[in-house]
Symmetry: C2
Subunit: 705 residues, 2 copies
């Protein structure tokens, strides 16, 4: 027995605040439960009414003579608080508060919400809402429509979670018009207790749910959050999660001091979570349902080799296009398939993929074509396109498809074009759970998402790297720096810290005289770079306090003198702590590794290509720390232009494995030293395969959490 069963499948429901006045929420929701033919027992609670819709009314929930599983509260905040206390006394097992006026209005409302949440938590009663639109379970054994919707939706295997109540009704209507059914449907409002995360876990265990749709505005961080989400989409019974996350553009405006910080808005956090957890993000409700449709059929293709069967050329071309855009490819038919097609189709047909059965195709011809291609071992999935022409037999073709569908494990997706003429066929397909769309581009796009799920489930998982970090030393360096008030670490301290996690930094020495400069340079080998060390001089280039490409002892000595005098000339009051001598970095592909600590979500790790273009193109990937090898690998691979690292245009392959290890190292660093607030390694120079990488520039900002 799951904790949330009391919300979704209660044996008895009390409506506190039920009203006899139509149009009032307390009336309408009560009426919707009653008229939806709820299979349990329903009790109205209202001290002022004898009965509501001729159902006997109780003065208080405590007066109900039978046990009550779930209480729906439709009362203003103060009364709601008392009602919750009564519910605890009564021993209910779940509470839904529909009314508004709580946290979302602030002040006393917010206070009462906190109090109510406390009361529920102490009594271990799950609380949904407040400020929500209720809960629906259309299962024939339950038929609970505790919502604003006047109709109980069809029963199906899609479960829905909405943070916004407003969207619920529209989604229900939209679903009805497109023939979708639901397993569970809930609006969670202010999320005083139960949130998306609880529900995703609950739905995942629910045998009636095959795909989850979420409309979220924000997500609340939990412990091992991403791992648990990943578990939902990846375990022995993976359940796809489709998400519309709004609030996209709002967060972009924040100013940030680091490179990484400027890219790591809350959008980046969400995308990192979604990417890592295998959650599919979509933009529109149309897409949500398009994709839910294919997942609800509960079949994944083994690969991306797609066969298309059509009775018209144009839609076949559109589908082919969209197929390729969506990551699928056209299957190559075997000789047997070709022979079978030639045997059954007229000579004017097109036998290669996309198969054109010609405008006058009767259902039998579709059937033959489908049977031929579905048997082909080189075909992973089939797209059936039917356009209504004068001879077209939509219902006959639908029946033929369903017949074959039952005898195969391969996904078949249909596109029956047109709404009116083909409706009987569409309905037949829907009744038999074969996904069907009105236009080929939508069908092909949905198939692409199915294949994406296949790729997710069959992703390579490599053993972790066996890396040793000097965690003690790292903690010590951070503590020392903070103690001495140093919050911005540059090449010197930054390098010391990064070395603890295996970062190959360049030799750096701070020297105080010409002689020392020459010796240091000699020791590290030429060419070297020298620059002033002064907390006051930020733009060292402007101060002419940087000398590149130093090749000899003499040059190094001269550079010392020049740098010090230039720095003094530039800012006479500057404290000159010395001159830094660094070995010049060997050439390599410029990449950026970064960290940004996000309030609420922890450390966000970033990978991207260096250089000005990439900054403009925002071509970077993110993960929340901690990560291991596999996420590091996917971070690197998901950046556009990844091919540059794999040996593009005759270049040598770069040492990608080293980048992976360093990302894992970075994850170790921020886990051990959470005081790292921002970090940019820009650039990290990645050398040829086997030759490692070099940290060329570092900036780290520390801050106590």
């Amino acid at each position: 027995m799951e904790r949330l069963d009391a919300i979704f499948s209660p044996k008895s429901v009390a409506v506190l605040g039920a009203s006899s006045t139509p149009g009032k929420v307390g009336h309408d929701i009560f009426a919707n439960i009653l008229r939806g033919e709820y299979t349990g027992t329903l009790y109205p609670v209202n001290p002022k009414a004898r009965s509501i819709l001729c159902v006997r009314c109780y003065e208080s929930i405590t007066e109900i003579p039978d046990p009550v599983d779930m209480a729906m509260i439709i009362l203003p905040p103060k009364l709601a608080l008392q009602a919750v206390r009564d519910c605890v006394e009564k021993g209910v097992r779940g509470i839904v508060i529909v009314s508004a006026g709580f946290k979302e209005v602030g002040g006393e409302g917010a206070q009462i919400e906190t109090e109510i949440a406390d009361v529920c938590r102490r009594a271990d009663i799950p609380l949904v809402g407040p400020n929500c639109l209720g809960v629906i379970n259309p299962h024939p054994d339950v038929r609970l429509n505790a919502s604003f919707s006047t109709h109980l939706p069809e029963y199906g295997n899609i479960s829905f979670i909405s943070q916004s109540g407003a969207l619920c009704t529209a989604v229900l209507d939209f679903a009805m018009s497109r023939g979708y059914g639901f397993s569970k449907f809930i609006s969670i409002g202010n999320k005083a207790d139960v949130d998306e995360f609880d529900l995703l876990q609950y739905y995942h265990k629910d045998p009636e749910t095959r795909v989850m749709m979420v409309y979220m505005e924000e997500l609340r961080m939990r412990e091992n959050f991403v791992d648990k989400l990943k578990h939902i989409t990846s375990d022995h019974r993976p359940t796809p999660i489709l998400v519309i996350k709004s609030g996209k553009t709002a967060s972009g405006a924040k100013a940030a001091s680091s490179h990484t910080g400027s890219l790591a808005g809350s959008e980046a956090v969400y995308n990192a979570i979604f990417d890592e957890a295998g959650i599919m993000r979509v933009d529109t409700v149309d897409e949500l349902f398009d994709y839910a449709g294919v997942f609800s059929a509960n079949r994944l293709p083994a690969g991306n080799r797609t066969a298309i069967i059509t009775n018209a050329g144009g839609p076949g071309i559109i589908a082919t296009d969209m197929t390729e855009v969506s990551g699928l490819k056209l299957a190559q038919f075997s000789d047997e398939t070709d022979a079978a097609l030639r045997e059954h189709l007229p000579p004017t047909a097109n036998f290669s993929n996309p198969v054109d059965v010609i405008g006058d195709a009767p259902s039998k011809r579709y059937e033959h074509a489908l049977d031929a291609v579905i048997k082909d071992h080189g075909v992973d999935c089939v797209l059936m396109i039917l356009t209504p022409q004068s001879m077209t037999d939509a219902i006959g073709t639908a029946k033929a498809i369903v017949k074959t569908y039952k005898n195969t494990d391969k996904p078949i997706i249909c596109c029956f074009m047109g709404v009116v003429d083909v409706s009987a066929g569409v309905q037949y397909l829907q009744e038999h759970h074969v996904p069907v769309y009105s236009f080929p581009e939508n069908a092909a796009r949905a198939m692409g998402r199915l294949y994406e799920a296949t790729r997710w489930l069959t992703r390579t998982i490599l053993p972790q790297y066996d890396l040793t970090f000097d965690r003690e030393r790292a903690r010590q360096i951070v503590d020392e720096c903070l103690k001495s008030g140093k919050t911005v670490l540059g090449e010197h301290d930054g390098a010391r810290l990064l070395q603890c996690y295996g970062f190959p930094t360049l030799p750096v020495e701070i020297v105080g005289s010409e002689q020392e400069a020459g010796q240091a340079a000699d020791k590290m080998g030429y060419p070297v770079v020298m620059k002033v060390v002064s907390p006051q001089i930020l733009h060292k280039m402007d101060a002419k306090a940087v000398v590149l490409n130093i090749e000899t002892t003499q040059e190094a000595q001269q550079a010392y003198t020049d740098i010090v005098s230039n720095a003094k000339a530039y800012l006479p009051d500057a404290e000159i702590q010395g001159v830094m001598v660094t070995k010049m970095a060997p050439k390599g592909e410029e990449v950026i590794l970064g960290v940004n600590r996000h309030p609420g979500f922890g450390h966000l790790l970033m990978f991207g290509f260096g250089g000005i273009y990439v900054e403009l193109f925002k071509n970077v990937s993110f993960r929340l720390a901690p990560i291991g090898r596999n996420n590091a690998r996917r971070m690197i691979r998901s950046v556009r232009g990844y091919q540059i690292l794999t040996g593009y245009r005759g270049k040598a392959r770069a040492d990608i494995e080293t980048i992976e290890k360093l990302l894992v190292g970075l994850s170790g660093l921020v886990t051990d030293c959470p005081q790292v607030k921002e970090l940019d390694i820009n650039p990290l120079l990645v050398h040829e395969e086997g030759k490692g990488a070099t940290v060329a520039d570092i900036i780290i900002t520390l801050e106590q959490e």
Copy 2:
């Protein structure tokens, strides 16, 4: 009287090949015209029938005693040819051939199609088809449904052209289900004569057409094609054109020798045409109708400042997101607006944009809010969102919106969420031509397209540059090269050619001795680059036959000796024509200018950023030559990362004007010398504003057309 009026608004129609057998095309189309209550006179022609659907039948069109405007031919190729001859004899003014079996099957069918087209051309009779699905004009004065569709669609102001017949029925059904009406609707099949271009021009003159939708597979080039299309979308009565162009991915695979060639597939040609002509390309039929809906209302916003009014937070957030993604921005309300909102809305409402009138908003509250914001001079357009909640009055709100809509010029777009509950309101809005959508993201996206049209119509048009080209010399260089069999021009001849069009190339000299090398280098000034000139040595770097960064006379002399001896060692049989001395290019932003001659469309000009990343990202823009300053400007601006040129991150602004002039020069070059098959200037180094640019590398391929 337009030529195509005979097709769309004939006073009389003869159906050649009309049949009495239901299910046959010749029967169904005749029946559809008849039952659609065509307002003209309809004559069936069939030598074997006395009457069809009780309409008196004629043996041949020539026997019809009255004049016939339009003939529909539904006969196999050979009979169709005879029928066309009869039509000419009869003096019809337009012909539509529905039957298939012509060019699309090849052989005799293709031959007959050519013959038919010739006959029609000689008689100056417009011919639609063959292999098409017919023509529809729902105007109440015409009511012509000469198509496969059993229903005559609603009358409206959207005109449609489809190359694919299959799509037509689906589009008609889809339109019906979404409440869209059409002005003209045609399927053009094989386009033996009449094509998209004729129809776009015809529709543009049609007062009943406000927006055109085209589904095309390929476009046929015509003289001044792009200019004429631009005229349609830009003249005193601009008509938006929305296009679905399929065949996107098919063309990408072709191998090409140049950089530009590899990027300039036929997709690039189409996008260049669409971009230049102001045609909007869309991906899906959903989008086609979403956008046609707003354009059909025939109102453009003056700017992009959008007000959103909603009765629920969630959809408001979604709309805000999509608004910003679509290039719009949230309007800032004036104090008057704020005051008006505060006067009429409850205190819990949100008065700033997006305005939240709260879930329980009656229609009056919507009306007040709309009236307040529509008057605001800082508001260009309004998005009204209604989500059905228990108090919601969809029809009342729709009426309030229509009332305000009639009193303003500003676009108002509605989103009435849900299909069932709000249908009365939706219908009322549709009847009054106020665009209405089911979800906020679609509404906002459509509004974004409206604003895109505003931007197109108000685009800056600057006077042309006054450039002088040495056309004579250029033609002479090209002719000489071709005469001597030289088809690949490098730095030397390429530079000579480009100089005729104002390209700043580097001094180049070919020398034959150490002495000459030293003198040439002295003359042009250091540093210089030297490399071998040998037709056999393609990889000069590999041959160690390139020396960079030469600083003195002595170095230049030494370089000559080294290059010649290295070249000989590398390929003893190589013909060494000399050593090329070039001044080293000054630093600048690397961009690429390119040309690719496209069979059928002529020269395609390309602009993009240089470097490996950009090649991977395919971040380039195209135009068909010839272009002037304004298109050059838009080419440059439309490339992602354009900011790099405008002074990004403290860099100096680059000399963009010079790039514009050079693009215009390139256009001049290919116009004067059409033998240029491919051209890459990669990179062109663009210096600081006012300092011009330098051609750093050139490769030009010539080929007689």
